[in-house]
C-alpha cells in the first residue's frame, strides 16, 4: 500500500547570528494509512522539529531541505498558501501545552468556529452543530456549556480533548500528535490515550505520535522511530525496539525504562 506521507532525507538547520546549527540531520520515514508511526526521543532529539518542518511551521531562521511527499506533492517545496490550506484540514497537529494553545481572549466556540469557517463552507448553525458533535465525540459532557467558556476556565485534559476533537473534525488524512500526554496528569493521560486508540480503530487516519514516553508509544504505535540528536537511531516495531535494539542509545533508553518499571512493580508487590 502506498504510504500517505513519505519523508526523504530531511535536513533542518537553525541560523542564528551568522552561525548554523544542524537540528535534523537526514531523517527518512513513511506513514501508512490507518497505521501509527511513533517517534521516540528525548528533548532536543529533533522529533518536534521534524514534524514542524514537514508542516511548514518553521520561520525564516530555519532552513529545510529534503522531500515530504503527500498526495504527489512535495510539502517542503510547496508555497506557504498551499501549505496553509492543507494544515488544519488534511494534515492536523495536536500540540503539547493545551493550556496555552488557545487564545485567552476568545471563547471556545469562537475558536472552533473560525477553524471550521476557514476550511469548510458551513453556515453558523452548521458550525455550532458540528462543534457540539465534536465535543460529544470526545466524551465531553455539557458541550453547550463548554463552548461558552474561556480557555482558562477549562482543565488541561479537557482542552487537550477539544484539541484532538478539533483536529479530527475535518477528517484529516494525517494526524500528528506532538507530546500530547506530556503536560497532563496520569489519569487524564489514560483518558486521552483511550481517545487516540479509539480514533485509530474507528477512522483510517494515519497517525504520527511524537513522545519521549515508551509506555505511551507501546499502546498505540505500529512502527517506532527512535531519534537521537537529529538522526534516526533505530526503527522497527515496538517489540523489536524493546528486545533487539541496534543503536546503543536505544539500548540505554530501553534498559532505563525497564529498570523503572521493574522498581515500580517491585514497590507494588511489596505494598
Amino acid at each position: 500500500m502506498a504510504p500517505v506521507l513519505e519523508v526523504k532525507d530531511l535536513y533542518v538547520d537553525f541560523h542564528y547570528k551568522k552561525r548554523v546549527q544542524p537540528i535534523v540531520k537526514g531523517v527518512s520515514f513513511q506513514v501508512e494509512k490507518g497505521k501509527c508511526l511513533g517517534i521516540l526521543g528525548e528533548s532536543g532529539s529533533g522529533k518536534s522539529m521534524t514534524a514542524k518542518a514537514v508542516m511548514g511551521l518553521l520561520d525564516k531562521s530555519f532552513s529545510v531541505k529534503g522531500q515530504a511527499l503527500y498526495q504527489g506533492q512535495d510539502l517542503i517545496a510547496c508555497d506557504s498558501e498551499a501549505l496553509r490550506k492543507i494544515r488544519g484540514k488534511e494534515i492536523c497537529m495536536i500540540l503539547q501545552n493545551p493550556m496555552t494553545c488557545f487564545d485567552p481572549l476568545y471563547r471556545i466556540d469562537s475558536q472552533m468556529g473560525e477553524t471550521f469557517a476557514e476550511h469548510a463552507r458551513l453556515t453558523k448553525e452548521e458550525i455550532h452543530l458540528k462543534s457540539i458533535q465534536v465535543l460529544e465525540l470526545m466524551q465531553i459532557h455539557n458541550p453547550e456549556e463548554v463552548l461558552k467558556k474561556y480557555p482558562h476556565q477549562l482543565s488541561g485534559g479537557m482542552l487537550q480533548r477539544i484539541m484532538i476533537g478539533l483536529a479530527m473534525a475535518l477528517e484529516p488524512d494525517i494526524l500528528i500528535a506532538d507530546e500530547p500526554t506530556t503536560a497532563i496528569d496520569a489519569i487524564t493521560q489514560f483518558e486521552v490515550m483511550k481517545e487516540f486508540i479509539r480514533i485509530k480503530q474507528e477512522t483510517k487516519t494515519a497517525m504520527i505520535f511524537i513522545t519521549h514516553d515508551l509506555s505511551v508509544i507501546s499502546q498505540i504505535s505500529d512502527q517506532v522511530l527512535v531519534m537521537n540528536q537529529g538522526l534516526v537511531a533505530d526503527r522497527g516495531t515496538f517489540g523489536e525496539i524493546m528486545d533487539h535494539a541496534k543503536d546503543p542509545y536505544t539500548v540505554l533508553l530501553v534498559e532505563k525504562k525497564k529498570a523503572v518499571i521493574g522498581k515500580y512493580r517491585a514497590a507494588l508487590e511489596r505494598g
Partner: protein, 313 residues
C-alpha cells in the same frame, strides 16, 4: 473581580492623600513668607507689619499645620482653591476653568493623532520586522526621542507657516491653529507608542496560541488582527489610557511655543509671577488626573480580561 476593584480604589485614596499633602506642603516650603509674597505680588506700595498680619489672617496662615491642611482639603473638595496671588479678584478655579478647555482640545486632538498614527505604524513594523520600513521607522523614532519638543515646534512653524505659508504660526481660534501644536505634541508620544505596540506584538507572536492558530491553518491576516493585535492592545490598555493625562501635562512647552491659551501657558505665567496657589492647584489637578486615570484603566483592563473577570465560578 469586585474585590479587586474595591481594593484598587482603596489603594488610590492614600495616594491621593499623599499628593494633596505634597501640594499643600509645597506652598509652605517657599523661602519667603507667603503673606509677604502675596503683598509684593499685589504691588502694595508699602509693606507694613500690620499689612502682613492682615494678610496672614486673611489667608489663614496662623492656624496649626494639620488644621490648615484639613481646611485646605475640605475647601478643595468644594472646589474652592483660593484666589490668585497676582490678581486677587480672580479665583484659582476661575483661572483654571478658563484655560482648561483649550488644553483639553489640544490634548484630545493630539491623542487622536497619536492613535491614528502609532497603531498602524507599530502594527506594520512588527509584521514586517527588520524590513526597510521597520528600520526606517525605528531610526525616525530614535531621532524624535532625542529631539526637544519645542525645537520640533519651532522647526515646524518655520517650515509650514513661514516658508510654505500653509498654517498660522500661533494663537488659537480655528482648526487651522490647532493642527501644528497638536502634531508637535503628538510627535513626542508617537515614538513611545510605536515602540510599545511593536514590542507587544513581537512578544505575542512568540506565544503558543499563535503556533496553534497556524497549525489550524488560519489565514495570516486573521491571526494578526483578531489574535495578535487584540492581545497586544489588551496589554497596552493601561498605557494608552495613561496617555490622556500625560498629554494634558505634556502640552506645557508646546503651548508656550505656539502661544496656545491653555493651562500650560497659565502655569508658566504663574511661575514667573510667583502665583503659588495657581501652581499648587495645577499640580494637584494633574496629579489627581494621573491617579484617577490609572485607576480607571486598571479597572477597565481587569474587566476586559476574561481571565480576571470570572473569579467566582
Amino acid at each position: 473581580m469586585k474585590s479587586y476593584i474595591i481594593k484598587r480604589i482603596l489603594s488610590a485614596v492614600p495616594l491621593l492623600l499623599c499628593i494633596s499633602f505634597l501640594c499643600f506642603v509645597f506652598i509652605n516650603l517657599i523661602p519667603s513668607d507667603p503673606a509677604e509674597v502675596a503683598l509684593r505680588v499685589r504691588q502694595t506700595p508699602i509693606i507694613t507689619e500690620e499689612a502682613i498680619a492682615e494678610v496672614r489672617a486673611e489667608l489663614g496662615l496662623d492656624d496649626p499645620y494639620l488644621v490648615r491642611y484639613v481646611n485646605w482639603v475640605w475647601s478643595c473638595l468644594h472646589l474652592d482653591f483660593g484666589v490668585s496671588y497676582t490678581n486677587p479678584s480672580r479665583t484659582v478655579l476661575g483661572e483654571l476653568s478658563r484655560c482648561l478647555p483649550a488644553t483639553a482640545v489640544l490634548a484630545m486632538t493630539s491623542l487622536v493623532f497619536v492613535i491614528v498614527l502609532s497603531l498602524p505604524i507599530g502594527f506594520f513594523c512588527a509584521v514586517y520586522k527588520d524590513s526597510w520600513f521597520d528600520r526606517l521607522i525605528r531610526g525616525i523614532v530614535f531621532m524624535t526621542t532625542a529631539m526637544p519638543a519645542y525645537w520640533i515646534g519651532l522647526l515646524l512653524i518655520w517650515l509650514v507657516s513661514i516658508q510654505l505659508d500653509l498654517l498660522p504660526t500661533s494663537g488659537s481660534g480655528s482648526v487651522k491653529h490647532l493642527i501644528l501644536p497638536a502634531f508637535t505634541v503628538s510627535l513626542t508620544y508617537i515614538s513611545t507608542y510605536i515602540r510599545l505596540i511593536r514590542n507587544n506584538m513581537l512578544e505575542n507572536m512568540k506565544e503558543d496560541y499563535v503556533l496553534y492558530a497556524n497549525v489550524r491553518g488560519l489565514k495570516q491576516s486573521n491571526i494578526l488582527i483578531r489574535h495578535i493585535l487584540k492581545n497586544s492592545l489588551h496589554t497596552c490598555i493601561v498605557a494608552i489610557g495613561m496617555s490622556v493625562p500625560q498629554l494634558m501635562a505634556g502640552t506645557i512647552v508646546v503651548e508656550n511655543v505656539f502661544a496656545w491659551p491653555g493651562l500650560g501657558k497659565l502655569c508658566i505665567n504663574s511661575i514667573f509671577n510667583r502665583d503659588y496657589p495657581v501652581i499648587q492647584t495645577y499640580v494637584l489637578l494633574i496629579g489627581t488626573l494621573f491617579v484617577v486615570f490609572n485607576l480607571l484603566f486598571d479597572i477597565i483592563q481587569c474587566i476586559a480580561d476574561p481571565r480576571l473577570r470570572r473569579e467566582v465560578s
